[in-house]
Symmetry: C2
Subunit: 309 residues, 2 copies
C-alpha cells in the first residue's frame, strides 16, 4: 500500500449561508464535512484511482473523531491516525450562496507533546515495512520539531521506501537535505527556497540541495520535472479555470500512483497534470472531476528537454 | 438533583480573528468551546450555585463527543445526554478583535429519529424519579414532535416533579396547555403567544392558558411574576449594559434553585434578577459574573402588586 503522512490533519467544514454580513447572525442552510490536510487529500485521490492507501498523522478529541468518521466514507482508505490529546484544526469555508464567494476561517493546529511525537515515529516505522511509497505532506503543527520531515525522509530511505516530500519553508529546506526521492514544490515554494523566480534554474538548485527528483507545479503552466532520468514539461490543453484548492495534492497522487505502477516518467507526469487540472475544474474544492480527468489525460503535452545540468 | 432538558444541544465555538473581511482567508488566533443550548446554560449556572444538576438531551458524532468533553470541565454537572446518530449543531461566533463585533453562524440541529425520541422519553422518565425539579429549555431539533414539551410536562406532573418550561412558538403554546408549574417567556415570546404587547395582561393570559405561574423576563425592566401566591416585579438597580446572551437562562437557574431551596417568591425573584443582570455584565457571553451577582443581589427591588386577577 501507499502511505500518506499528514502531521497537521484538519476537518474541513463548509457552511452555505444566503448572504454573509459581518456582525449579523446567520442561519447555516447546509453543512458539509470532509477530511482535510494535504496528505488526506492525496489519499482520497489515490483511493479514487483504485490504490490501497494508509493515512497516518494525528487525531484527538471530538474533532478527531469527526475527522475519522469522514474517512470511513471513503472506500480504500485505511485509517492509521495516532490518538493524541489535542484536536485537529477545523477549517471553516463560509460560502455566500448569493455571490458564490468564500470566506475562510482556519484554526491553528493542536500542540503535539514529545511523547505523542515519539509514538508517531514508532508507528511510522512500523507502517513503512508494508509501504510501497510514502508521501510526507503539509505543514507541521506546534510541538513537532522543525526537522521532522528530515527524520521521516531518512527513516523511509533506511527502509528502502521511495519518499515524496511536499511542504514549505524551513521544514522543506531541512527535509530536502535528507535526500528525498521526490519533492513537489509550487512556484512560491520554489522561489522561497532558492531565491530564484526562474523555475528551471530553481528546480536544478533544489536537486543540488539533495532531492533526487523535483516536480514543480506551476499552475496553468503545468509541471516541470527534473530527475536523473531526464527533464520534462507536462502541460494540460488550454486554460483550465476553477478552484485550484487541492490541485497540487492531486498531482502528488498522480506521481505516486504512477511510480508504484512502474509507469515511465512521461506517463506519470501526464497523469499528474491531468489530475491536477481535473481538480481545478471540479465543482467541489479539492475533489477531482473523473470525466474531466479521462478527457484531459490523452491531451496533456509532455515534452522532453535538453538536460544541461 | 435538578434536571435540565436541552433537546437542541449545541457546541458553542468562539473564534477570535484580527479583522473579519468577507471573501478573505483568516487565521483564527484563539478558539474556545463551551457547552451550548439553553438547558446546558441553566445547568452551568445551577452548578456554579452549588446545586447537583443532571443534563439530558441528545449528543451524537464527533461534535457530541466534543460537547461532552466541555461538560466534564464543569464540576457538579452529571451528563445524561442520550447517544444519537446526528451531531449537535455547532454555533460559531466570530469575534473581530479590532472592533469587538461578533458575526454569528448557527448550524441547523440534527434530525432525531423516532426510535431516538422513544429512547429519550424512557431515559427522561427514569431521571424524573430522582429529580427535585426539571427545566425544559429551548428549541426542538427536526424530527422531535411539536407536542414534545406537552408530553414532557405531563410526565413531570405525573411524577410530582415541579416543571419549568422555557421555549417559544408552537412548542410553548402546546406545552402551556399541559399545565406546567412555571413558564419563563421573554417579552417577544409573550407577545407572540398572546398577541398582547402589554406584559401584565399577557402574563395573566398565559396563566389562563394553563401555566400555574408565569415569570416574564423583560430585559432591563427585570422580571414580572404572576403566581397563585401573588404578583411581583423584581427590578435590578440602575441600567445594566453588556451582552444579554444567556440572561434568561440565568433567570431560570435562579428560579429553580430558589424553588428547591424553599425560598419565598420574593427571594427567588431577587436571585433570578441578580443572576440575570450579572450575566449581562459578564465579559464572556453566557457566563455570570459572581462578584456582580453578590453585589446586585441585595439591591434588587422586589415589589408586590395588587392581584386583580
Amino acid at each position: 500500500m501507499i502511505l500518506t503522512v499528514t502531521l497537521n490533519t484538519a476537518l474541513d467544514i463548509t457552511y452555505r449561508v444566503p448572504s454573509l454580513r459581518p456582525h449579523a447572525s446567520h442561519r447555516v442552510t447546509e453543512v458539509t464535512e470532509r477530511p482535510g490536510g494535504k496528505g488526506l487529500n492525496v489519499a482520497r485521490v489515490l483511493a479514487a484511482l483504485g490504490h490501497s492507501v494508509t493515512v497516518t498523522g494525528f487525531a484527538g478529541g471530538g474533532t478527531g473523531r469527526a475527522l475519522q468518521e469522514t474517512l470511513t466514507t471513503v472506500p480504500g482508505i485505511n485509517d492509521a491516525l495516532i490518538p493524541v490529546a489535542g484536536a485537529p484544526r477545523r477549517t471553516v469555508a463560509v460560502v455566500d450562496t448569493a455571490t458564490g464567494d468564500t470566506t475562510q476561517l482556519n484554526e491553528p493546529g493542536p500542540v503535539i507533546a514529545p511523547a505523542e511525537w515519539s509514538a508517531f515515529l514508532e508507528a511510522y516505522e512500523d507502517l513503512l515495512r508494508s509501504s510501497s511509497a510514502v508521501a510526507l505532506c503539509g505543514s507541521l503543527p506546534p510541538g513537532v520539531p522543525v526537522g521532522a520531515y528530515a527524520h521521516l525522509v531518512r527513516a523511509a530511505r533506511a527502509a528502502s521506501v521511495p519518499v515524496l516530500l511536499d511542504t514549505s519553508g524551513e521544514p522543506l529546506r531541512r527535509g530536502i537535505a535528507a535526500r528525498p526521492d521526490f519533492v513537489k514544490p509550487n512556484a512560491d515554494e520554489l522561489a522561497e527556497l532558492t531565491g530564484s523566480h526562474e523555475p528551471v534554474q530553481a528546480t536544478r538548485d533544489v536537486r543540488r540541495r539533495g532531492a533526487r527528483a523535483v516536480v514543480a507545479s506551476l499552475g496553468a503552466e503545468g509541471l516541470l520535472a527534473v530527475a536523473p532520468e531526464g527533464h520534462w514539461r507536462a502541460t494540460p490543453p488550454g486554460r483550465v479555470t476553477g478552484n485550484p484548492t487541492g490541485a497540487g495534492d492531486s498531482a502528488v497522487a498522480g506521481l505516486l500512483s504512477g511510480l508504484v505502477e512502474h509507469l515511465p516518467w512521461p506517463d506519470r507526469l501526464a497523469r499528474a497534470a491531468a489530475l491536477s487540472a481535473a481538480t481545478v475544474r471540479a465543482p467541489v474544492a479539492g475533489e477531482f472531476d473523473r470525466a474531466a480527468y479521462e478527457e484531459l489525460l490523452p491531451r496533456v503535452a509532455v515534452t522532453e528537454r535538453a538536460t544541461a545540468a
